[in-house]
Each structure stands twice: as C-alpha cells, then as structure tokens.
C-alpha cells in the first residue's frame, strides 16, 4: 500500500498514571489510513487504558488526564469527551454492548442520529418534536449493514438476537457514521462463533480497503495474524514489540505477552501433592455469573496445596469461586471431604468450613462503615458463634468485646495492617490494608478451605508481597487448602503449587507452577471464545 507522508494517527510518548500507579509509559504508536493494527497483551497491560485515552473517555479526565500527544492527520488533538472523538472520526465498539434492548437493529444503529421530518408542532416547540423518518432510517441502516458485509436482520429487536448479531449491530452503528476514519474494536470476537468471527475478519478487510483504519484488540492471536498489517504487543504499560504481522507468529507473540524476566518468577518450595488426598472435587460445574460464565468445569483440589486459577478477563475464572460459594446461580456437584456442598446457598458453604475472600472488596468483602474489630469478627460471630458470651444457657448472647479486640490486634500485628487502632472504620484504610482485613476476616473463621479471589487487585507492590506472604504462611502453618484466583500469572507462579488456566469458561489445562510462562500463555488463549 502506498503510504502518505502524514499518518492518520500518531500517539507520541503517552503516559498515564492512576494516583501514582504508572499504567502507561512512553507509548508510541503510528497508524496509516486503512491500516489494521492488532493490539495484544495480558489483562492490565494497559490496552484498555490506551484506548480510553484515544477515545476521550471521562474516566481519564477524572483521574487527572494523561501526558503525551495525539496527532490526527498531523494535527494535535485533545478529546475531552467521547463525542469530540466521534466528531473527529474515531469510532469505538466496546466490550460491553451499548445497545437498547427493546429497539430494533435499525433504531440502535441510528440511535440519537435518526433522520427527522419537520412538522407543525416542532415548528413551535423545537426540533425534539420532529417525527422520525422511518423510511430513511431503514435506508441508512441498510447501507451500513451492506458496508459491513454481514447480514443482520435490521428489523429484529436486540434482545431476541443471538449475541454475535448484537456485536455486528454495534459495528454497523459505527459504520453508519459518515465521518468514520478510525474504528477501535475491543475484543469483538470474544462473543462470536467461529463462522461469525470469520465474517468479522472479512468485514475488517473490506473496511481497510475503503480507507478506514482499524485498531483490533483480541486474545485470539491467529486472528491478528490473518487480518492485521502490524502487531503491537503491550506488557506492564510498555510497548514491548511493534512489528509487521508478516514477520511473526503466535508463539512469539504469546511469549512477548507474558514473558517478563522469566526465571525470577517460579517460587521456591513448590510442592508436589499429586498423590495426596483430594479435599475438594468439582464435577461439571456451571455458573451463570454475567461476564464470567463457567461451563462444565471439573477439578480436583488436593489437601494442603495452594492451587492457582488463572486466565484472561471474562473467561470464567472468577465464576468458579463465586459459583461454589453461592453468590451466583450455579449447577453441578461439589464435594468437600466426600460430603456434597449444596450450591446456591452461601450459608451452607460457610457452615461446611469454606471461606471466600471476594474480588469485590468494597461490595461483598467489607462493612465499610464499621470498625476493624467488627469486620474481622463478624463472619465468625455469625457463622460459628465465636466471640460470644452465653448467658442463661445460650438464650442471651453477648459479644465478647475483649476476645474480639484481641484477635483483631493479633491480625493487625501479623499482617502489618496500617491503622490508627482496631476501632478505626474500614473505609478509612487504603486498598492494600483493606485487603488484609478481608484476609484476617477469612482467617478468623479458621476454615479448612479458602478461596481467595484477586487478592492483589488494585494494591501497590509492597502490599502485594505482604498479602501473598500472609497467604502462603497461613497455608503452611495451619495446613489450610487455598485456591487463589488471579489475573496475574507471575503472582500465581510465586505462590502456588499448581496452576489451572481457565479459557472459554473451561479448564484449559493444569500445570505445575514451575513450568515456563509461555506454556501458560498458550493455554490462556487456547480456547478463548
């Protein structure tokens, strides 16, 4: 393709931090007219943040803006809102659908850009009372669908559509905008069937022929290779590789995605418990957790081990503990120590001596307006009648304030929780210390089996190491079996004995933590749906 002198898009030295936490460092990307760029990287590598900056999303402005320059056709631009970006010809199809469920495809494609007819009333009361021009709407929707090259029934209501068609409706909406020059697709094939994904790739090719540049984010690497002109790999907020797609292959890309200092990671003291007793056996588990659907998972957990569950976002790794603990609707069988655990009933799980540290700290994990003492002791008090003094043969139960304070202070010491006193309110602590309180809460239950979900999400490096160390010590000293779910592979490799990788809602494979990162990287993308 003949290249013009000024590229369509140029991002220069983009930097972004969230409250001191550097998430993007010196990103440089150029993109010519009609070029297709494949963007890949693990979760948290900064892909989404970069796209949010480009698209002028509010969250960027609210968190203090960004550094660096964006040039469109050689002109520096700065988008305050997505509407500025839209006006400049940038379209974006988000991971979550942005469609009105009860509207037809046509109505959604032209949402808030409907062609209108003037009438008597609107002459008086303003143009919001113009009637819609349904004929013209149909025509314009048709054109957009044709441009896309995939037939979507334009008069079908969205919530009756198969999920793939919804995705195409979104793409058609972007294509119906005449000024469109650059289209960002954020994991568009994640919800598509094989055939639909193929059709999408075809339509990307035809867009590119019509001079529309595309930034294509996906975890399906072979798609990138088949459709993109060049590949940009990101890791930990850096661009680690910017290479023409012709000159690389899937295994190279997955190595760049996960492979940091490969040797440092795997922890000392990985134990092989494969001949140990099975403490939990999961058979044919399904979980309906929106965005983290689990399909047909069977898994054995050995007594006393730390099992890691990893995988890319949205593939179902979070669904496993949430389903077993009864927070989302689930089916299948789960046995603990040979005894079946009833699903969909959180209390029964807790009674069976299971504990769960949720990834949703502020929502599920903590009583934000209560003291640390309460937070630590509350579940144990509710579930196991601990920290209670019985009077009149158990008719009256009073809280044992002294015991509560003692145990809280013990955990504050052990976990090095930074706080003014055990009476401080949970919401006043920093993220890392809140996470430690969540752990203390679970430890106070003295469970046989502990689920820990994303224990290090959103906390800084120092706190991370402490949390991981606390988990490991708890496992070693009390012999508790721990299942830890995390999107950060390296962290799993530091702590766990074995790591199961979830992909497409299913277990893609289980490997000892000592296996090289690339192996896990390949598993992560193996069954992505």
């Amino acid at each position: 393709m003949e290249k013009k002198n000024t590229p369509l898009l140029e991002m220069r030295n983009i930097k972004k931090d969230f409250f001191g936490n550097q998430v993007l460092t010196d990103i440089n990307i150029t993109l010519g007219e009609g070029e297709v760029l494949g963007l890949c990287g693990e979760n948290g590598a900064g892909k989404s943040t970069l796209m949010k900056i480009l698209f002028g999303m509010d969250v960027i402005r609210e968190t203090g803006g960004y550094e660096g320059e964006i040039l469109l056709n050689g002109q520096p631009v700065h988008f305050e809102t997505p509407f500025d970006a839209l006006a400049a010809g940038i379209g974006m199809v988000h991971q979550e659908f942005s469609l009105i469920p009860g509207f037809t495809a046509t109505e959604n494609i032209l949402l808030n850009r409907e062609p209108k007819k003037r009438n008597v009333v609107s002459e008086v009361f303003g143009d919001r009372l113009d009637t819609l021009d349904y004929n013209q709407m149909t025509g314009r929707a048709e054109t957009a669908i044709e441009k896309m090259g995939f037939q979507v029934d334009k008069s079908m209501v969205i919530n009756e559509m198969p999920v793939g068609h919804k995705q195409f409706t979104e793409i058609a909406r972007e294509l119906s905008k005449d000024q469109l020059k650059l289209l960002i697709l954020d994991e568009p094939t994640a919800v598509l069937t094989e055939k639909e994904a193929e059709a999408l790739l075809e339509s990307i090719r035809s867009m590119s022929k019509n001079g529309i540049a595309v930034i294509f984010i996906t975890h399906r690497l072979h798609e990138i290779l088949s459709v993109c002109d060049k590949v940009v790999v990101m890791r930990d907020g850096f661009v680690v590789k910017d290479i023409p797609a012709k000159e690389t292959n899937v295994s190279e890309i997955s190595k760049w995605m996960v492979g940091r200092n490969i040797d440092t990671a795997a922890s000392a003291g990985v134990r092989d418990k494969s001949d140990g007793k099975t403490i939990m056996s999961i058979r044919r588990l399904w979980v309906d957790m929106p965005g983290e659907i689990v399909r047909d998972v069977s898994l054995d957990v050995k007594e006393g081990e730390i099992l890691g569950i990893g995988g890319l976002a949205g593939q179902g790794k979070l669904g496993i503990p949430n389903g077993i603990m009864g927070l989302y609707e689930a089916g299948g069988t789960v046995e603990l120590d040979g005894k079946p655990i009833p699903l969909n009933s959180p209390r029964k799980c807790l009674d069976a001596s299971l504990a769960f540290v949720s990834e949703d700290r502020r929502g599920v994990g903590l009583l934000l307006d209560e003291t640390l003492e309460w937070n630590v002791a509350f579940p144990a008090m509710q579930v196991q009648d601990k920290f209670l003094k019985n009077y009149l043969g158990g008719l009256i139960k009073w809280r044992d304030e002294k015991a509560i304070r003692e145990i809280t202070e013990r955990y504050i010491d052990e976990l090095a929780i930074k706080c003014t006193s055990s009476k401080q309110k949970a919401k006043e602590l920093s993220g890392g210390n809140q996470q430690k309180i969540c752990l203390a809460k679970a430890f106070a239950l003295e469970p046989k089996f502990l689920f820990v979900s994303e224990p290090t999400r959103g906390i800084d490096v120092g706190a991370k190491a402490l949390v991981l160390e606390a988990l490991r010590r708890f496992n070693r000293e009390s012999g508790v079996t721990v299942v830890m779910i995390s999107s950060e592979l390296e962290e799993l490799r530091q702590v766990c004995d074995r790591i199961a990788i979830v992909s497409g809602g299913k277990i893609a494979g289980i490997r000892p933590a000592t296996d090289p990162s690339e192996e896990f990287g390949m598993l992560m993308v193996s069954m992505v749906k």
Binding site: P82, F83, S98, L99, I100, P101, G102, F103, E107, L111, N112, E114, K116, S122, D127, R128, L129, D130, T131, L132, Y134, R284, W286, D288, I293, R295, D296, E329, A330, G331
Partner: protein, 372 residues
C-alpha cells in the same frame, strides 16, 4: 407436540395476564349478584370512562421513559384544583371556564412537574416510592396555600368559595354551573344510556397525541432512556432533561384530566379530591394488564372498564351477601392497594424468573455438549 405448545402458550398467556383475568372473574361473579340492569351498568361505566380515562392516560409517558408508575400525578391534580378554584372565584362558568382553568393549570403543573422531575433524577431506580412521598409532601404545601394563603395573600373574594372567617377555601367548592358542560355538549342519549361524545373526542385526540408522540424524536429518546439510561447517555441523549420533560408532560396532562374529572363530578372536595386519585388511576391501569415498565392505551381502556365495573357492582353484591353495604367501600380501597402490591410483586418475580432461565439455558447447553 402441537398440543403441548398450545398448553404452554395458554399458561404463559394466563401468567402474563393474571390481574385482568382475575378481575374478569370477579366481575362475572358480582354482576349477576348485584342485580343491576344492563343499561344502568352500561351508563355508569360510560360515565366513569369519560371521567377517568384522560387522567389514566397521563400515566403512560413516564412508564415509557422508564420512570414507573407516576404517583406524582397527584401534583397535576392539585394544579387542576387550584386553577378551578380561581375560575370559580371569578365566576367564569361553562366551557369557557373549563378552558380557562386548563390554561391556568399549565404553568402550575409545569412548575410542580419540573420540581418532581428534578427530585426523581436524584432518586433513579426508586422513582415510584419517591414520587409517592413527594405527593404527600406537596399535599402539605397545597393545604398551606389553600387553607391559609388564599383569601389573605392570594386574592379570593367570592363568598361561595371563601370560608366565612375571611381566608381559606371552603371544604366543598360547587362547580354546579359547569357541571358536565363538556359531557352534555353533543351528548347522545339512547335507552337510558348517555354517551358524552365531546369528552370521548377529547380522549381520542389525546390517544392520537400519544401515538404520534411515540414517533417523535423526543418519544424515541424517552423509550431509549427508559430501557437503558447509560446507553442513551453514551449516545448523546440528555437523559436528565428527557426524564424531566416526561414528568412535566405527565403532570400537565394529569392537571387537564383532573379538570375534566371535576367538571363531571360537579364539585371539588377541596382537601381530599386529589388525595387518592393517583392510587385509583394506577390501580385501574394495572388492572388493565399494564406493568411497571410496559403500558398501552389498550391497558387504559380495559383497566377502566374492569376496575369500575367492579366498583359499581361490588357494594351491591357485598350487601346482597353480607347485608352490609359498607363492605363495598372497604372492598374498593382494599382491592386498589392489593392490585398495586400484586403487580409489583409479579414484576419482581418475572424479572427473577428471567434471570434463572439464563442459568437453566446454560445447564441445557452443557448437557447437550456432554451428550455429543
């Protein structure tokens, strides 16, 4: 196979229309017991349709924009009453009086509607309970104005309106001189049944307006906002403003509706006319098969017919059975609240059932995959 699907269809029809079916059964049971003649019954129902339909239609637009059942329509009713008080103080009667009252009610309704809409924007997802409480709060302000300010600060002079102590409005303001002036114009009388043609024409125009309104840009925006506020906002629709406009339109229409209602009744019960109007209108709409997020003009008509048939026949039927005619009045209030509660519960269960169906589908898929 075909049989089964028919059975399933019947089941889902019954499930979706529980409330109307229940009321058809109640009416079918009570009508013969009451012993009313057909023409009497028909006349009563037509009178009440003319009286109530306009008010109930005012509820449709907030439902369209996802704000649920607008208990705040009481504010519109108050605006209508205040306008009528002024008009009767000025002794402007007949159709000019009705029209003037409608014009006067508009600014008051717009003011109250904007206020209500702004508060509801702060309480997204809890619109119904909020609007219910706002109507109680506004009732206090209404009483302050009507009982203490009118006659002392706001000029009111006519003795038939003002309390003898010099300020405040009488308990009942007679509208005898405009009673049924719209209903009687062009009315057709046959076999003891009076059809208020002009009133029905006005209702017809409002129905056409609502149908037309759905096809306007504003109507489209309201439907979008009603189904998913975030998506609508991302598409550049001004969600807050759209919601306020929807409440304002509803309040203005409720004001008009109240004026039509009161011209039919022939008097204003100054301190109580509006107090239960919202509840009765909402109950009637729900009886017609509407739900919190979906209501049509058909629901309005069916609801009025069923709900008021029950109102007419229940006291008599109750007296026949128990010998006490008070049972009917009790029944009326009980049923209104009961219907509202029932349809709120059904709305929730329906949502929950849909949610659990997703899980079942997942399980089925897994079974099928396992069978392969």
């Amino acid at each position: 196979m075909k049989n089964k699907s028919f059975g399933a269809k019947l089941l889902s029809f019954v499930r979706d229309n529980t409330v109307p079916i229940m009321f058809v059964l109640i009416c079918a049971f009570c009508i013969p017991l009451s012993g009313f003649s057909f023409s009497y019954l028909l006349n009563e129902i037509i009178t009440r349709m003319g009286r109530n339909i306009f008010l109930i239609l005012a509820l449709l637009i907030p439902i369209m924009s996802g704000m649920g059942l607008n208990f705040g329509m009481t504010l519109g009713a108050m605006a209508g009453e205040i306008a009528l008080i002024f008009v009767s103080d000025w002794q402007i009667w007949g159709i000019p009086g009705v029209i003037l009252a409608m014009i006067l009610s508009i600014p008051i309704s717009v003011l109250l509607g904007t206020f209500c809409g702004k508060i509801l924007n702060m309480a997204k997802g809890r619109e119904m309970i909020t609007s219910y409480i706002i109507s109680f709060f506004m009732n206090g302000i209404y009483q302050l104005i009507v009982l203490y300010m009118m006659g002392s600060i706001i000029p009111i002079s006519h003795f038939s309106v003002k309390l003898p102590r010099g300020y405040g409005i009488r308990n009942t303001v007679s509208l005898l001189n405009m009673r049924q002036c719209i209903d009687n114009l062009l009315a057709i009388r046959t076999n003891g049944v009076k059809i208020p043609v002009l009133t029905f024409l006005i209702i017809g125009v409002l129905c056409l307006f609502i149908v037309w309104f759905r096809r306007t840009k504003l109507g489209q925006d309201m439907r979008a906002v009603g189904q998913d506020m975030n998506v609508a906002r991302d598409a550049g629709i001004n969600v807050e403003r759209t919601r306020i406009i929807s409440i304002v339109i509803s309040t203005v229409l409720a004001g008009f509706g109240m004026i039509l209602y009161l011209q039919n009744m022939g008097n204003i019960a100054t301190y109580s006319s509006h107090s239960q109007i919202g509840m009765f209108c909402i109950a009637a709409l729900l009886v017609g098969g509407a739900s919190v997020d979906r209501a049509s003009i058909g629901n309005v008509f069916l609801g009025v017919i069923l709900f008021h048939t029950m109102f007419i026949v229940a006291p008599k039927a109750g007296a026949q059975i128990t010998g006490d005619s008070m049972i009917g009045e009790y029944f009326r209030v009980f049923v209104s609240y009961g219907v509202i509660t029932l349809s709120l519960i059904m709305y929730e269960t329906k949502k929950r059932r849909q949610k659990s169906q997703m899980g079942l589908q997942l399980q089925r898929e897994q079974m099928e995959e396992g069978a392969k």
